[in-house]
Symmetry: C2
Subunit: 494 residues, 2 copies
């Protein structure tokens, strides 16, 4: 990563340093220079990422003369919301996707993965000479590789990949309007750089989105960590874990609301907040029964690591991508089934209503009714073991530490889990990107089975001292602390 | 399918007829003629199929002068059992796999799929000119296609694929020694036929194994239906279903033994026996609450069909095969985790001990204690819906009816479920072929999640009259009745 405009800093991480760039609204005046001749930015698609990025970029570039336009497919149902947000056919900031692509100097491709797979050729065909192709994750590279194709020559290909869902990208940018740098961290990659300005343009785009700190990756590394992460600790594993724990507590005699609180609420509430504020080891300290945490951690680490390794292999091999394409073909004629019908979710409203009521004892651990506001040690042990399994697998596969902690920890506790806390896990799974939804359906049940069939039945075995020590000494804690120093002083409010 | 030795009959199936050959011990004297010059048969591998086929063929060919030898890898732990069964280095009927392959006129490849993928080239290299390559399922074709390779030219390539696990192939052959034709049905395929005797050799091999009726398929069709079937109704779906139902009944207040009986025992016992003896529609009639059966059927059919279609796509596309290869690479350094740790299985002994005891009310339906010896309507509805989903998906993909009903119904109720009844489902899953074990781990949890998250929450919806009518009028019932006429008059005893 290099820049002729922004200051590149070194962040100390385990085993060395990594180059990062700190964001901030004070840098917005530098964006036009860094964009090197980009006068028109076209954002194709109005999903959560398209919407958030178009709005943030328009706000950040206000007054610079650089326009941000939104391109939609003919008849898109999103046009109404885009108009309500001020994009307009009249002034040319809203239009047909191919026309917007043809008129833009930077074309940001934020349509759904399957649509991108089906339509990238006609988009490439209309690009201006030398126009920059912008991506927000590496899916298209994986697809092009799989079909033996490539990006068109002569075009810069860059990526800015926010480490949070689209809604967070917008919401934290707005909530941080008065806090310099509040937003979602992002990784950037320069895949093709024919004019030598790829890094500056990517940095400008990232800073314009509000990223507090931007780190470098490659499209291939980003693709792997992003797709694996959402199938593991970010979505799939969380869904599998709460389904397993809910039934575990129910069979153990808990009423539905308590079982919900000890499983889902514990993770999306106190566990996420504890990790966000004080790191991973603090979760263990917050458990009343630390030996039980250690035993749960020890029972879950190996099966969780096995699953993360399996997912990683399938993603790196292209198998996972094939399955997404096959699923989209099947789903062409019928809607994806929803998972929100699971019994637990019918109690969401009741659970949420109890939050903060005076006569409701917040209870996440210890014995029922004793009012310990800690975290359930079994739920916590399984969750943290899975998070560390992903961290360790990513480290073993050679990912940069910024990418590891953002994709395994920060994105979870600062973006996704707060959303799940506000809605619920099933709502999240039924409303994220189609690739993520398909991946969660595919891998969530695998995690559930691993917890039910391997981890939970082994809770009575003594903790594995080697695993516990590896957890305490894990280099991820230092990497996370380094990243935390760059964390904006505003918590997301959903 | 054609034969110059055996009588090819026409079996009436929905939409036409299919060619089949009836088996029987009276045909054993014809085997040498049908084998057309095969003097030495080499069976490579001593897994359940290798063991069963080597023993059955040796018994069927006794006195003909045709020898059956077993080939094992150097240092194989199976040598001891092979010797105990009468194969011997001294008389040349037990030896190194490559030496046995080099000395045989028909080389039957029954080593594990991954070993076959890794070692087929060195086996092919030592074959006698014109020696016949024998397979018992289509895995190797899938692998060769995936790596852009092929079988060596000049060799007949034939397959005989028993529609039951190896233990059943041996056990039913022995138990049916006095009943002409008792054994496990098999499909046969001729993939390469340079000398024109492929069908006769395959028929001889099938009849020699004890197959009561043999039907024709292709290696590709066999591969797809076999791999999909074991991932769906034969193993994966059964495992997912009993895990889901056990927890469902436990949360509903049932004690562990009753929950086990209403889930696993109901399927492996009365449901399997009812289907085997009286067909699929009879299961509905055996339920005390037929409306509940219809509602359970209606709630489960679509999610089950979606999953079978997904599995079929992944198998046909080669994705599933890639995942097996990737898993074997990961597992090279550590054992596969077992699934038998799930809480239910700790009650197997207790459940089995209650069978047939005078004071134990056999209870599978109605209200607890009322002694209705029917089947649990919810368990039955979900199971039969999944079985029909597989039947319908196979029919939609153009499989022969003999293959459909054998791979979806007969193999389940006459081979696998009786074994699960004798052991338990987890034991089966932990002890079947590695490809099947991996597939069950992969897809069982998906079925569990589909039942838990989609089917069971919708039990209170009215039954779908179209789905119920489609079930009652399904052409599979006629195909099953036609196959049943060829069924030997001996039940498997495990």
């Amino acid at each position: 990563m290099k820049s002729s405009v922004f200051q590149v800093e070194s962040m100390v991480v385990p085993g060395g340093t990594e180059s990062i760039v700190r964001g901030g609204r004070d840098l917005f005046p530098l964006l036009p220079e860094a964009l090197h001749g980009v006068e028109r930015i076209g954002v194709l698609g109005w999903g959560p990422q398209g919407r958030a990025q178009a709005l943030n970029l328009r706000d950040s570039l206000a007054g610079t003369g650089i326009t941000v336009s939104v391109g939609l497919r003919p008849g898109s149902a999103s046009a109404e919301d885009a108009r309500a947000q001020g994009f307009s056919e009249d002034d040319g900031t809203l239009g047909d996707w191919l026309e917007v692509a043809a008129a833009s100097d930077l074309v940001i491709l934020l349509i759904a993965d399957a649509a991108l797979a089906a339509n990238h050729e006609q988009i490439f065909a209309v690009l201006k000479p030398g126009a920059t192709i912008g991506l927000s994750h590496g899916f298209l590279l994986g697809h092009l590789t799989a079909i033996g194709s490539d990006f068109p020559a002569g075009h810069p290909v860059i990526a800015v990949c926010p480490k949070g869902m689209g809604d967070s990208v917008r919401r934290l940018y707005q909530q941080g309007a008065t806090v310099n740098g509040a937003g979602i961290n992002a990784s950037i990659a320069v895949h093709a750089d024919p004019d030598g300005h790829g890094w500056d343009r990517a940095l400008a785009w990232s800073i314009g989105l509000g990223s507090p700190y931007t780190f470098a990756t490659t499209l291939a590394d980003e693709y792997r960590s992003d797709i694996v992460g959402e199938r593991a600790i970010l979505l799939g594993a969380v869904h599998g874990l709460v389904e397993a724990m809910y039934r575990y507590f129910r069979i153990d005699g808990a009423d539905p609301v308590t079982a919900y609180e000890r499983s889902t609420e514990a993770i999306t509430g106190p566990i996420a907040r504890t990790i966000s504020n004080d790191g991973l080891v603090a979760v263990r300290a917050a458990c009343g029964d630390q030996d039980l945490f250690d035993r749960a951690y020890s029972a879950a680490y190996r099966p969780a690591r096995d699953l993360v390794a399996e997912i990683y292999d399938e993603v790196a091999d292209g198998t996972e991508l094939r399955s997404v394409i096959l699923a989209e073909q099947r789903l062409a004629t019928r809607p994806m089934t929803e998972i929100g019908g699971s019994p637990m979710w019918s109690h969401s409203t009741e659970v949420h209503a109890r939050r903060g009521t005076p006569d409701h004892t917040v209870w996440y651990g210890g014995s029922e009714g004793d009012g310990v506001a800690g975290v359930d040690a079994v739920t916590a042990g399984l969750f943290v073991a899975t998070m560390m399994a992903q961290v360790d697998e990513f480290a073993a596969r050679g990912h940069a530490w910024s990418e590891i902690v953002n994709e395994s920890v920060i994105e979870a506790v600062d973006s996704l889990l707060p959303y799940m806390h506000a809605r619920d896990v099933a709502y999240m799974v039924d409303n994220c990107s189609r690739t993520a939804r398909l991946g969660t359906r595919r891998w969530g049940p695998r995690f559930q089975a691993a917890y039910e069939q391997i981890a939970l039945p082994h809770l009575d075995r003594p903790a594995d001292p080697t695993l516990v020590k590896d957890f305490e000494d894990n280099p991820a804690h230092d990497a996370l602390a380094a990243a935390a120093k760059l964390r904006p002083s505003v918590d997301i409010s959903v």
